[in-house]
């Protein structure tokens, strides 16, 4: 009857939850918390997310970038937290995530204004991302001229940048020889 002794020794082990709150351990990987004001729409989280719980896509009208998180698909790995440059997505300690009757309740979205390429006029990123980069340039201590140059660079879409450098290279090289 040693088991009986153990029961007597350790007593009831039951937590009060759900009749009293339960606090999780420090560093618990709970539901990712989204801070809309910090999000710059860089899509790093969307690219990193192994289960595609976070998707960052243009809306149908192609005038907003939509950050969309489906809590039901999240595997709580924290990759989004790890890659986010502004800490806009951080894992919280929330474990009370169940919903009933309406699956939409699991979804969180954030819309950001988009920026158009200064060359071709196509949508390619968000206004906030550009503003964030410019802000960062200022903090690095670069001169006005450098900042201006870099700002111009980042407001061009990748396709145009590619075309530009191809043009640049072909201007200087012909048949693999530098002119």
């Amino acid at each position: 009857m040693k088991l009986l002794d153990m029961t007597r020794k350790y007593g009831s082990a039951t937590y009060e939850y759900p009749f009293a709150p339960y606090t999780v351990a420090d560093g618990f990987r709970g539901k990712p918390e989204y801070d809309y004001d910090k999000c710059i729409g860089c899509t790093a989280c969307g690219v990193a997310c192994p289960s595609n719980a976070i998707n960052v896509e243009l809306n149908e009208a192609k005038d907003k970038l939509v950050w969309k998180f489906d809590c039901g698909r999240c595997i709580y790995c924290g990759r989004c937290d790890e890659v986010c440059p502004t800490n806009a997505v951080m894992l919280g300690s929330d474990f009370e995530t169940a919903v009933k009757f309406n699956k939409e309740d699991l979804i969180e979205t954030g819309e950001l204004d988009v920026e158009y390429c200064q060359k071709c006029g196509k949508v390619f990123t968000t206004k906030r991302l550009i503003a964030y980069c410019v802000e960062n340039f200022k903090k690095v201590g670069w001169s006005e001229r450098v900042i201006e140059e870099k700002t111009k660079y980042i407001t061009t879409c990748p396709e145009c940048k590619k075309a530009e450098s191809v043009e640049l290279v072909s201007k200087h090289y012909s048949k693999g020889v530098k002119k």
Binding site: L4, T7, S12, A13
Partner: protein, 306 residues
């Protein structure tokens, strides 16, 4: 006539009180496992009430046997219980409370249970049902031999009379045969009540989907209740023969009986909760052989007139 009235009253009272003890047993079991368990002693009532509210489903391949078995089983359980001379112990016997009647009703219950499970078409239920029959083969002889000893000592098979004799000290524990028979009967009663390690009745784990597997909703509730009644009937039989001291006032007798039976029911948790289940053909067989040995000793003791 009055006897029949009392019979009905005692069945209803016990049927209403029994889930309470099941609830107590559940709380106690939870405490023994270092957890809290149900919030109070009334959980089994809630479970049964809920089951009555649920709809029924039945397997496509089942027949009428499957459909009516729960009611028949409940009726048989109630009959067994009614046959216990609890409230009407001071009335003259009307011949219903006969040991043979009770044994036959019990066997019939088992039989219904067996065919219902086979009829459900679930192979697990079928295996479970057939085990239940095998179990009977081991338990019944022990029970019958113990009872034969008692009947021989008393010279009657009528429970009311036996009971009166034990109470009046005509037969009793001073007779070694009676004392030994009480031990083997206690074992048989425990096994019959379907508790661990002998709970092959519901075949909870090994044959998980078990005998009751295919019953749903109110059918399941009734079957469940029938089993609780049967367990109380078995305890009642033990109490009537071996522990008959009680009031003659029917109401008081009923209360005392329920309390005593409840204590037995709840105390079984201590045995029930520890250790592994027995296997039918190894540990259980040995166990049953041992019990059979004890009952045989009782018989021999009677024969030599000790």
């Amino acid at each position: 006539m009055e006897v029949i009235l009392w019979m009905i009253i005692q069945v209803i009272a016990i049927a209403l009180a029994a889930p309470f003890f099941d609830g107590v047993a559940r709380v106690l079991r939870a405490r023994l496992q270092s957890r809290k368990g149900p919030p109070d002693f009334f959980q089994t009532y809630r479970d049964i009430i809920k089951l009555y509210k649920r709809s029924r489903t039945r397997p496509r391949c089942a027949h009428w046997v499957f459909d009516y078995a729960p009611y028949i089983m409940y009726g048989l359980g109630a009959t067994m219980l009614a046959a216990m001379p609890i409230t009407y112990n001071s009335y003259p016997s009307i011949g219903v409370s006969d040991i043979f009647v009770i044994i036959y009703v019990g066997a019939f219950l088992r039989f219904v249970f067996g065919i219902a499970s086979i009829d459900s078409g679930n192979p697990f239920a079928a295996v479970g049902g057939s085990r239940e029959q095998t179990l009977t083969i081991f338990v019944e002889p022990v029970m019958i031999i113990s009872l034969i000893v008692v009947m021989c000592l008393a010279g009657t098979s009528d429970l009311v009379n036996i009971r009166a004799m034990v109470r009046d000290g005509e037969i009793g524990y001073f007779m070694p045969a009676f004392a030994v028979a009480s031990i083997s009967f206690l074992w048989a009663m425990y096994v019959e009540s379907g508790r661990n390690p002998y709970d092959l009745a519901e075949a909870e784990q090994e044959l998980q989907e078990g005998v009751l597997g295919e019953y749903a909703g109110s059918d399941f509730g009734i079957t469940h209740a029938a089993f609780i009644l049967k367990q109380f009937a078995m305890i009642g039989m033990f109490l009537s023969i071996f522990e008959p001291w009680n009031f003659t006032n029917p109401i008081l007798a009923l209360i005392v009986f329920i309390a005593k039976a409840g204590i037995f029911y709840v105390a079984a948790v201590f045995i029930d909760n520890f250790g592994a289940r027995y296997k039918l053909l190894t540990s259980f067989k040995q166990n049953a052989t041992f019990a059979l040995g004890i009952s045989a000793v009782a018989l021999i003791l009677y024969a030599v007139g000790a």
